[in-house]
Subunit: 368 residues, 2 copies
């Protein structure tokens, strides 16, 4: 193998695949980045066996071939080299020479045959979805997945495709996030994708790219294609919870409120709430105002926000973290908060559309 | 106590003093910020008994008095409040109310009498030094202080004042940094200031402020005044090493080299050197070029830089960290490297002036 390519494009490619490289593995080969020179392009691959990322870049191929280089060392070297052409040449199958202007590295490398193949996925039956929409859908759901590995299915996000609509759902036993979007599809399908995969997919999406991301689901894997990058991930096994029966159909109190004001007030209230274990903040909804209170041994806080209330007055308490996590990802200036009783879930949704629903369980407090 | 002041200026003041607030102390009062309302200004103070910082801000004083508020909570609250006037009022001596628009906090506070007084320093006999120059002198010396608490005197920087000149010196047993500057002074004086103090002083210096910083030294303390901020620090006790006898008077090889190129090459070489414990890089100086090499079990690197050599060829090895630390703080485009033998110290200094000298001990390596 012998190739020449610009420092910038090689570094960009390494940055894309490096997030899938394992740092904790006992298999040394998985700490490496696979590079393969074929016809007129260079393929760069990383994988930790859960996620694999493959990126293609243009390069001058003087000699075809492949090798595997330690990911950390390779990325550090390429990052520190000047913005010029880099010459990479395989010598004797266990040493790779990297030259750039007056710098020359000789690095021990691995046998490319030992590098695991990414799963083969027949690239038909694609769903297409605009990149910005998909990034937004990930952002609005992925934070609500469970961190608890004892119920693995809840560490992922359900993708549910039905008649040109895509629902993404995450829940962790305390809150639920449901985001609806449009997709090009003839058939129904569903899969549970690990949260980490979706975070990586969001990272490789290009902000201004008008070309949609393409998604392909098989029984065990999901494939995401955007531009010159492919990401393949294992799916989570098992049945996802029937989330539709969790969502309340009606409410007794509906509050219309400014999203930013609510976030700021709850954030300040949580400065005192955080001293307690449950981050408790109390909402007292009364006519045209909402009072938010919180207290701990350090003191107490009292916040007032003007609201529009439809229905009954109510007092209800929540873990402030669950409120703030969701308020951070609303793009809407105003939202509805819907409540039924102070022991049943609260619902947040945008005032102007139906595409997002966030449910959070209240905390029971004594009535004084 | 009852005051009103704008959120921005209060937050700025808290940010200045907060760095001197102790986080690890067993004395709860030291985790607090002292605020005192007197005539037409507000005094904000923090101290950990080693360093004390005092800042004055303009405020509307409705009622004079003082209190002490937990620093972390206070700064978090003020940071999260909107950009509006903040009303702070002491109630019953153990509770302080903080109001801003529709937010109101009641916070438990401490008795201001329990807060330690900062040392009294008679503010005569000042040295004045331009802020930018002093920041630069700190930056070029403080990194070379020792981290090893077993020789406390080396954890500080020597300030040596003599006939309008100020020398600042730091050394840790492996390297020495000496920076010379001009100061307004009639008398000679010296003191060893803790490295942490100087880092904090550099932080409170204002980039564009034309007014010099004022420094006052007493037997046990140093006082730094800049604008509305005073910083008082304990001095380190003991005799500083007689550094002048460490500096070599002559050299056998003088290399003129581009600072940035040398930094970049040594940084790349150190990517492999870091695998070894001593970060070893070897310089082979020969006629019009310097070759930098390094190797480890992961591979090796070879860098070439064009130089101007006056005197003998030489091969010498160093800990790359000690080279890079200094190359980072040179403002000069070109520097001299002076060597005598491969077991005697190397010297770096700017080509165009005499104000900075950095000395570093070589590492002995076998001759092959």
């Amino acid at each position: 193998m012998h190739i020449i390519c610009p420092q910038k494009s090689l570094l960009n490619s390494i940055n894309i695949v490096q997030k899938s490289v394992s740092t904790k593995t006992t298999l040394p080969i998985l700490r490496g980045i696979y590079i393969e020179a074929a016809s007129n392009q260079l393929k760069i691959v990383g994988t930790d066996l859960e996620i694999g990322i493959e990126n293609l870049i243009e390069a001058e191929i003087l000699d075809e071939g492949a090798t595997v280089i330690d990911a950390r060392l390779f990325s550090d070297i390429i990052r520190k080299l000047p913005d010029a052409d880099i010459d990479i040449k395989l010598i004797d199958n266990n040493q790779v020479n990297i030259k750039c202007l007056n710098a020359e590295f000789s690095i021990v490398c691995h046998n490319p045959d030992d590098f695991p193949d990414l799963p083969e996925i027949s690239e038909d039956n694609f769903y297409k979805i605009p990149q910005e929409l998909f990034r937004n859908m990930i952002k609005q759901t992925v934070f609500a997945t469970s961190q608890d590995e004892s119920r693995p299915i809840l560490t992922g996000v359900l993708l549910e495709i039905d008649q040109n609509s895509l629902n993404m759902v995450a829940l962790d036993g305390y809150r639920l996030a449901l985001r609806k979007g449009k997709i090009q599809s003839d058939i129904s399908n569903k899969a549970v994708i690990p949260a980490r995969t979706l975070s990586e997919v969001a990272r490789i999406l290009e902000v201004d790219n008008e070309k949609p991301i393409e998604i392909c689901l098989t029984e065990n894997h999901a494939l995401f294609i955007t531009g010159k990058t492919k990401l393949i991930s294992r799916l989570l096994e098992g049945e996802f919870i029937n989330y539709k029966q969790i969502l309340p159909k009606e409410y007794k109190s509906r509050v219309k409120i400014n999203t930013r004001n609510l976030y700021n007030s709850i954030e300040r209230a949580s400065l005192l709430a955080r001293e307690g274990k449950n981050n408790l903040v109390k909402l007292i909804i009364n006519d045209d105002k909402m009072i938010i209170t919180s207290n701990s041994e350090l003191g107490k806080v009292h916040e007032e926000i003007v609201i529009l209330l439809e229905g009954d007055d109510i007092e209800i308490a929540f873990n402030s973290k669950y409120f703030m996590d969701a308020l951070k990802v609303f793009d809407d200036e105003e939202i509805y908060l819907d409540f039924t009783t102070n022991i049943s879930p609260g619902i947040m949704k945008p005032v102007d559309n139906e595409n997002y629903t966030y449910l959070v369980l209240p905390v029971r407090v004594s009535s004084n």
